[in-house]
Point group: C2
Chain length 292, copies 2
């Protein structure tokens, strides 16, 4: 028997992976959770039928969403991860000896359990004593939290599904309030290439641009996400600047162990193609950066 997983990137475009074996399938209170083994990308976690994490390319997403903000914050001590149930973002954050507290709030405990069972390397950070894992609603959590964070990383599902309410203005306002005087929020955004998502991306950027002091966008190459081009929104509170602390020694202590991130990638990721700059004209401040 041939077994294939197919994701509709749009009604007119499909991406398919051969499946060796279905490892796990569960309807959680929040979403459909599946795990399959594939020859091409190793184990793959799917939420509501969309690829979230694969053994083979997860490092791109997790290194970009974590190290870009943290390399800009040499004084960071407290980090909040919203979502991130597979554990990859926590793993990357745990590499920084200077972090004292890594709070993580994932709405779906089943995702955490599945990660523990099937992705032990990705969720290795769960064992770190600095990591406080809460199963709950990130939006509520951030509204009530007291001590300020240096960075908030929104590692959620897409704007459709259980992560939906993490893409609204009230949430970003609460995040702004939950940061100290200087801080960064990073959130994944959709691909800037597919016209279907262009409106969502612009709306997300508008919410953040209204709430934060300055917004930047950066890109990464993620083969298993639609179009392979993925974007991240970097929202600054206070004077934090994405290319500002590039001499930060924090990540250099473990930089050799990383598979994607380095200072050249960091700077280059903010160098946006013209069509992306035009799409987000007036909302992002990338043109202020000294990239060229």
């Amino acid at each position: 028997m041939e077994l294939w997983y197919t994701e509709e990137h749009s009604p007119n475009c499909r991406f398919s992976l051969r499946v060796t074996r279905q490892l796990h399938s569960e309807k959680t209170p929040f979403q459909q959770l599946d795990i399959v083994a594939t020859p091409e990308y190793g184990r793959v976690m799917l939420l509501d039928g969309l690829v979230m994490t694969t053994d083979r390319d997860e490092f791109v997403y997790h290194e970009l969403i974590t190290h870009v903000p943290l390399a800009c914050l040499p004084e960071a001590r407290r980090v909040l991860i919203i979502g991130g149930g597979d554990g990859g973002t926590a793993r990357e954050a745990c590499r920084y000896p200077r972090l004292e507290t890594i709070d993580m709030v994932e709405i779906d405990g089943a995702v955490i359990e599945a990660a523990r069972a099937w992705f032990p390397d990705i969720c290795a950070g769960f064992a770190d004593p600095r990591l406080n894992l809460t199963v709950g609603d990130g939006m509520e959590y951030v509204r009530k939290v007291a001590a300020p964070y240096d960075a908030i990383i929104v590692d959620s599902t897409d704007p459709v599904g259980p992560g939906e309410h993490l893409f609204n203005e009230a949430f970003y306002r609460d995040c702004y309030a939950a940061l100290g005087e200087q801080g960064v929020l990073v959130s994944q955004g959709p691909t800037p290439i597919q016209p279907e998502f262009a409106g969502l991306l612009r709306e997300q950027a508008e919410f953040i641009a209204r709430t934060f002091d300055r917004l930047y966008l950066y890109l990464g190459h993620i083969p298993t996400y639609p179009t392979g081009t993925w974007c991240f929104l970097f929202a600054a509170k206070g004077g934090i600047e994405p290319l500002g602390s590039r001499t930060d020694a924090g990540w250099r202590t473990f930089g050799e162990r990383l598979r994607y991130y380095n200072p050249g990638v960091h700077r280059g990721a903010f160098g946006l193609p013209n069509y992306v700059r035009r799409q987000l004209d007036g909302l992002i401040a990338n043109d202020r950066l000294d990239i060229a």
Copy 2:
């Protein structure tokens, strides 16, 4: 009836596009040539069943393969394009008023005719009086050519098929000889992500590194090519340096009309992820560039 085109990116990974209509299908003396209309990417040209050009994302490939070398060569007057039958690379080269001669050698005349018929916007450069279009074997052409070029752009098919002989050391030696004292050869390479291609990419890089004075690699985001991450090899003869002439005003006169290329993209494209740097360790000189 539902009509779909499916490309096997590997035996375990497929990419499919809905097809509105098959526009053209022809067995040329060199390859199978198909053109289909798709809702997702507009018209798509396929050679031997692989996506070569689409209306909607061709600009990424063509701008990157052309402007990265030409922006580094403010004195360039003579350019040779090998392959490039769809016309996109010629179109981009024709934007430079300072170029006096743009020679293009495409092995398959049927590709040129199909481009004229179905991709009039892409092959607009064919009408430029500076463009000399030759239907013939690029390898033979470059072996015999007399006057030196400032840049050679190898816009060929993949290392399997009619472009195969453009990926060997003798060809790169001839290209080196066909350049003036200072010059650049740029060639597309495969994706650095798929293990199937890693050997091919390393071999191609070894050939070029042995032949040219210095080799660099740069990346672009091309949704319809396998993994969405594509690479280009930048081979320097003499002291040409990829970030050296970034003040070149050549492309600035038309830069606003481009959809991908700008100086930030140029520099950022040379900022390679660690896994790519390691794959080509000892062959590429990207680490000498001031990217971070």
